[in-house]
């Protein structure tokens, strides 16, 4: 690489090394919208740009999944680096399934160097959920240890070994919550522990059951958690009752009430897709009213093109902060 290129890369980094834009939006008290990028099964950066372009105009952050559902796709670090390069605001998902602590800490440094400012720390779906179930599961860290380690790197400027970092990463740290699986009455305790471990924002699993979510938020508010973290509710459009059935039986941790599946089943085939979007918009409108909800995280798996419509119909359109 020529020297001038290197200088450009360095000054690029300077300009990007500022604070997380997602954090700025949330701390300004605006209702944030993030969405999930479909990580391509491809070696072509254009595929990332094309998918990100569907979301970029209406989102404050775009999550790149880390082998979601234990299926291999382009790595989250690479997707995030490409998005950062193109001016988007990426959220790096890091799962504990595939890498040990040495690899993860290295990736956290590398991603920061490539302009990534947001990290979502996850346990990760088990290898048995994916199409290579014969793989070794790693789980050297759990999600909370990962979260705390990322915080140590940022705040103490050291690796877990105690070795000093010359430039620590400046991360906005997040974690997931799933209020919809057992033990539902204790899930707020895990949220409390994640906040304790350093979570600044939370993105939840798909919410299709608003009453369960409301009960979760009530318990979280009773502990005063709503003032300590920015919580984004996971939502997404269902394409049909078959898609819903598949998701709730095959994707770990997804709970869809029968009423939602039946509503889609009763809808004529032509308008199922529209009905799925309508359900999603209705859920956004409902959760938006709940105290302590600071945004939504839209996971429109294989129908990313519906995201702008959902944002628009839920009345969440606003001028996005300029690059």
């Amino acid at each position: 690489m020529a020297n001038s290129d290197r200088t450009t890369a360095a000054s690029d980094w300077e300009s990007r090394s500022g604070e997380s834009r997602l954090r700025r939006v949330l701390e300004a008290g605006q209702f944030a919208v993030t969405a999930e990028l479909e990580a391509p099964d491809s070696a072509d950066p254009e595929d990332v740009f094309a998918n990100a372009a569907k979301l970029g105009g209406v989102c404050d952050g775009i999550n790149a999944t880390d082998g979601s559902g234990a299926n291999c796709h382009m790595s989250s670090v690479a997707c995030c680096a490409l998005m950062a390069q193109a001016g988007y605001e990426p959220v790096l998902q890091v799962s504990c399934r595939d890498r040990n602590r040495i690899a993860i800490q290295g990736d956290l440094l590398g991603a920061a160097a490539l302009g990534v400012r947001n990290v979502l720390c996850l346990t990760g779906d088990d290898v048995s959920a994916g199409d290579q179930p014969e793989a070794r599961r790693v789980f050297d860290f759990d999600a909370l240890q990962l979260l705390r380690t990322a915080g140590i790197m940022r705040d103490q400027g050291v690796l877990l070994s105690g070795r000093k970092l010359t430039t620590p990463p400046a991360y906005f740290l997040g974690a997931a919550a799933n209020p919809f699986v057992p033990p539902q009455d204790l899930r707020h305790l895990r949220l409390a522990k994640k906040i304790e471990a350093g979570a600044q924002f939370i993105q939840t699993q798909y919410c299709f059951d608003v009453p369960v979510f409301e009960a979760f938020m009530r318990r979280a508010r009773d502990m005063g958690l709503h003032g300590k973290v920015h919580l984004l509710v996971g939502v997404g459009p269902l394409r049909s009752e078959r898609a819903a059935e598949f998701m709730r039986s095959r994707v770990p941790g997804v709970h869809i009430p029968d009423a939602v599946v039946e509503r889609l089943a009763k809808t004529p085939r032509k308008s199922k897709r529209e009905e799925g979007i309508r359900i999603c918009v209705e859920i956004i409108e409902q959760v938006k009213q709940i105290e302590g909800v600071h945004g939504v995280h839209i996971m429109a798996y294989r129908q990313e093109e519906t995201v702008p419509e959902i944002v628009e119909r839920a009345g969440l359109m606003r001028e996005k902060p300029k690059e």
């Binding site: 380690t149 050291v158 305790l189």
Partner: protein
């Protein structure tokens, strides 16, 4: 593939595991007993035998009761007297988001989620109840197959990784 020994569930151990208050009393008693016994064993037994005795008795007792995986850094009393290393993802800080609607494990569909059980049992515990909310540091994998009791008595890994302990001490 399933080396997870829930298949090896021992007769009677389930009954005992659902009595976490009894177990925490046994835990406290055995900790006190071991603290007395340790210096004696050290003096009486030939070099290396203390460890052998400890490892063997842990394998037998904790193996039977908790399906102990010999991680060498026992936190049973902080996890509702339920061994977290039985979780296929080795989670030490609570359940993942993959728990099934019937409360069973994402990975082993006919096994109850270790953490659902742990949380319920922790709530019943008198002395250590609530400790389940403590943040547990990353597992020291080099202690696998060593005696957690001995490691505790000898202060092995009392500090944890240097970067992590800097926070704990604050």
């Amino acid at each position: 593939m399933t080396s997870f020994a829930e298949s090896k569930r021992m007769p009677g151990s389930e009954w005992l595991k659902d009595r976490p208050r009894l177990l925490e009393a046994v835990y406290r008693g055995s900790e006190a007993g071991l603290r007395l016994l340790y210096p004696v064993l050290r003096r009486v037994l030939p070099a290396g035998w203390t460890e052998r005795v400890f490892v063997w008795s842990e394998e037998v007792s904790k193996g039977y009761l908790f399906n102990c995986q010999m991680c060498g850094q026992c936190i049973l009393h902080s996890t509702g007297m339920t061994c977290p290393m039985n979780c296929p993802k080795n989670l030490r800080n609570g359940p993942c988001g993959g728990v099934r609607q019937n409360g069973n494990c994402e990975v082993i569909p006919d096994m109850p989620c270790v953490w659902v059980q742990a949380w319920r049992r922790d709530a019943q515990m008198e002395r250590y109840g609530g400790e389940i909310q403590l943040l547990q540091r990353p597992v020291n994998r080099s202690l696998q197959n060593s005696s957690a009791w001995l490691n505790l008595l000898e202060g092995v890994d009392a500090q944890g990784p240097p970067g992590w302990s800097a926070i704990e001490l604050e």
